[in-house]
């Protein structure tokens, strides 16, 4: 709502107007994939359920497989029923399904692309979507440039266009730049939404609020008071039949290049001057630029062997279907990073991510320096632990602060206790899924929670340097059993500095 209309219309004053996106069509490329089924449609249903979608709205799914509109709708209905977070209501679904279409196209096939263009024009008339388009590229990375090109050539002059690009954006700096050059031929940076769904998570956004809306954390959020930071992105699942993708990616490209570096950027960044897309992203890219390329001794890679998860024996990575028995792909990375700026100089950031770790967990732990001279040292030395602020991104989103307290009684025994803030405990509203927030933001044209091209480039140049160093030696894989916290060398990485990974 513009200010001019508010001046003109006094009835709008004080109304809590939720921004609703303009009428538009969401086109999902790769509609037969897992992401569409597990995340995108449940998110669209949740948005429809809360009436956050524009009244004039349509969704077109496209993929290579032949499917009728009817089959597509039935498949997505099932997906929403299975993966949705809200009760299933027929009226909400019918309203959404009414604007759903499916177009089978092979991406190398001009005819298919034409058929898609026709469908969109028809829908514009039928649904009043005014030529506005959100193109969601949930396809395998290899076909992305092709799709972008086809879309670009058929760009309509009427209405706006937004391009959501799923990760990975390229597979190294060079390919990312190539992809970017294809995109910039047809699209402006303001139209490109590179998704990193971690940024849509409530706790990640809350980290900005925690840091910049509270007066007590920011003064100690620096090298003077922080001993080190630990970032963990742990998954207990294996590669889930995605060998073809994972063999190409590995942990470093799958998680480290995007989620991990974004978490670091948000935890380390300077306060932005405001909460607009470019202010936030300017500060993030400064952090990424300041991350020192780690030497080979500061990076550890691993690959899981046979082991146990939840009491069940699971195969090693090399025994997974379609994985070559001599695969050198890493399923675990740990690194010691330095953010070389005024705030963080000499403060190590220990990061680790891996598959088949004992449990699913994403946390950022800020470990503070110990108290300078605790007078209790002789009495209760073993209980004295430095404070830690733990930001839990998943599964239970929340924040907790570890503090030392006296155990009640006559003696002086000190124990660490946690002050917990649990999202689920304080707000029972139910957290929106990351994809709901991100799809809505893209429709509204808000890029704050999307990665800008300079961030992507910085992320790749760091990853390229790590991978280049790896090319020189042969790893002794597998080096950690499934269900453990990674290879022993990861523990040594911290032990060398007299530290250890957080206890769980």
């Amino acid at each position: 709502m513009t200010e001019a209309t508010l001046q003109e219309n006094p009835l709008l004053e004080g109304l809590q107007l939720r921004r609703t996106p303009d009428p538009c069509i969401l086109v999902i490329f790769g509609a037969s994939g897992d992401l569409t089924k597990r995340k995108l449609f449940p998110a669209l249903y949740a948005l429809a359920f809360r009436r956050l979608l524009p009244a004039n709205f349509a969704v077109v799914g496209t993929a290579r497989s032949e499917e009728t509109d009817y089959e597509f709708k039935a498949r997505m209905k099932e997906a929403v029923q299975e993966y949705g977070r809200d009760e299933f209501r027929d009226d909400v679904w019918e309203a959404l399904a009414d604007g759903m279409r499916y177009v089978a196209t092979d991406f190398s096939n001009k005819e298919g692309e034409d058929r898609l263009a026709e469908t969109l024009t028809e829908l514009d008339e039928e649904r009043g979507t005014r030529g506005n388009r959100v193109f969601y590229l949930a396809t395998p990375p290899a076909v992305v440039p092709r799709v972008v090109q086809e879309l670009g050539k058929r760009r309509k002059t009427q209405g706006w266009t937004r391009l959501i690009v799923e990760k990975p954006f390229g597979r190294d700096l060079e390919s990312a730049r190539e992809l970017q050059s294809v995109i910039t031929r047809y699209f402006d940076e303001t139209e490109v939404f590179r998704i990193d769904h971690y940024l849509g998570k409530e706790t990640v956004q809350n980290m900005l609020v925690l840091r910049f809306a509270n007066g007590i954390f920011e003064p100690i959020w620096n090298r003077q008071f922080v001993d080190h930071v630990q970032v963990t992105v742990a998954e207990s699942i294996g590669i889930e039949n995605r060998a073809a993708y994972y063999e190409q990616a590995g942990a470093v490209r799958d998680i480290f290049q995007n989620h991990m570096l974004q978490l670091i950027a948000i935890a380390a960044m300077e306060p932005p001057i405001d909460f607009t897309a470019d202010s936030v992203r300017n500060e993030k890219v400064k952090v990424l630029r300041a991350i020192h390329t780690p030497g080979p001794k500061s990076v550890v890679r691993g690959q899981y062997g046979r082991g146990f998860i939840e009491g069940k024996e699971v195969p090693g990575y090399r025994e997974e279907p379609d994985v070559p028995p001599q695969s050198k792909t890493e399923t675990y990375v740990a690194a010691k990073l330095y953010v070389d700026n005024w705030r963080w100089a000499d403060t190590p950031w220990y990061v680790r991510t891996g598959k088949r770790l004992p449990r699913r967990e994403t946390t950022i732990a800020i470990a503070f320096k110990k108290a300078p001279h605790p007078p209790f040292e002789e009495l209760a030395a073993e209980g004295l632990r430095p404070n830690a602020l733990i930001i839990q991104v998943q599964p239970d989103e929340g924040i907790s602060l570890a503090i030392s307290v006296k155990v009640p009684g006559h003696g002086l025994t000190i124990r660490t206790a946690h002050m917990d803030f649990l999202y689920g405990g304080a707000f029972r509203t139910g957290l929106p899924e990351a994809y709901e927030r991100l799809i809505l933001d893209a429709m509204l044209g808000d890029q704050t929670l999307f990665t800008r091209i300079d961030e992507v480039e910085e992320q790749w140049s760091l990853v390229d340097a790590i991978i280049a160093a790896w090319a020189r030696d042969r790893p002794a894989f597998p080096n950690y059993p499934a269900g453990t916290w990674g290879p022993p060398s990861a523990d040594e990485l911290l032990a060398r500095d007299g530290r250890s990974w957080r206890q769980h």
Binding site: L11, L12, L15, P395, D396, G424, R428
Partner: protein, 283 residues
């Protein structure tokens, strides 16, 4: 039920004793976001319990429900309920409900009962059932210790006259009115009829008296000219006519009562538009 607790000290002791998981020493996790107090005269007891039931789970808080019983013999009778809700990962969160009957003269000084039980540093909400007795010590004392007063003017008789008392306290406490919240679906909708609605002379509202009065007051104060009101009683806001022409229905379902109260509890700032609308009902 155990014998009633007859002093604040006993109530406090009971709250901390009951916070421990039976059979273990670990206390329940408490993540409170506010203290919620409710003033519930006898005729409102049933309705109040219904609304509270849905609320505790959404807004983990300490809830203090006050039952004034001025005709009884002097004394306090309290009891404590701890409700525990699972929040995933095997963890639980608890909310505390303290019910206190204020007997005899105690009913006139509820603020002194509530103050020692407020959770420190968190906002305090007061839900006042029925029409508040403006100027009386029980009410005046309570609104000075709370941050936000929540009323539902649907519960008031002889509207719009009681709104005059409300305008007198706007500078002392932030006021939310559930009746106003119940018009929230219609207001943006009526605003969307701009500019046709700019010169409206008369509206006819089918709904509760409070809704009709507040909508008329809102239009008068925003448009800054008189708007005549015709009211057709109904339990729900079923229609608005603008100068004899029915406005189309807004999309969506009307919100349910515990959603409305819940939304009011998330809000902390003064709603100047509402305050103007209340003044407008008296024009």
């Amino acid at each position: 039920m155990a014998a009633a607790l007859t002093s604040i000290r006993e109530i406090e002791r009971e709250v901390s004793a009951r916070r421990t998981v039976p059979g273990s020493e670990a206390p329940y996790q408490r993540t409170s976001v506010m203290t919620h107090t409710a003033w519930v005269p006898p005729e409102w007891v049933e309705a109040a319990e219904d609304a509270l039931a849905g609320l505790a789970e959404r807004h983990p808080s300490r809830t203090i429900v006050l039952f004034p019983q001025p005709d009884e013999e002097d004394g306090l009778e309290g009891d404590v309920d701890i409700d525990v809700y699972p929040v995933g990962g095997g963890r639980q969160v608890c909310t505390e409900t303290i019910r206190i009957r204020l007997n005899g003269p105690r009913a006139a000084a509820p603020a002194s009962v509530v103050q020692p039980l407020l959770l420190p540093d968190l906002p305090v909400f007061l839900r006042w059932r029925g029409a508040p007795p403006f100027g009386e010590p029980a009410f005046e004392g309570l609104i000075d210790v709370v941050d936000r007063l929540i009323v539902d003017s649907t519960e008031w008789a002889d509207l719009p006259a009681p709104y005059a008392g409300l305008t007198g306290i706007f500078d002392r406490v932030v006021v939310s009115d559930i009746a106003w919240a119940r018009t929230s679906r219609w207001r943006p909708h009526l605003a969307s009829l701009w500019p046709d609605i700019a010169n409206v002379k008369k509206i006819r509202v089918t709904g509760t008296a409070a809704q009709a009065q507040l909508l008329a007051g809102w239009l008068r104060t925003r448009l800054k000219h008189p708007v005549e009101l015709e009211h057709e009683p109904s339990d729900h806001l079923d229609g608005v006519e603008i100068d004899g022409e029915a406005a189309p229905f807004p999309p969506g379902d009307p919100p349910d009562p515990s959603d409305l109260l819940s939304e009011e509890l998330d809000r902390f700032d003064r709603d100047r538009i509402y305050e103007d609308a209340v003044r407008g009902t008296l024009e």
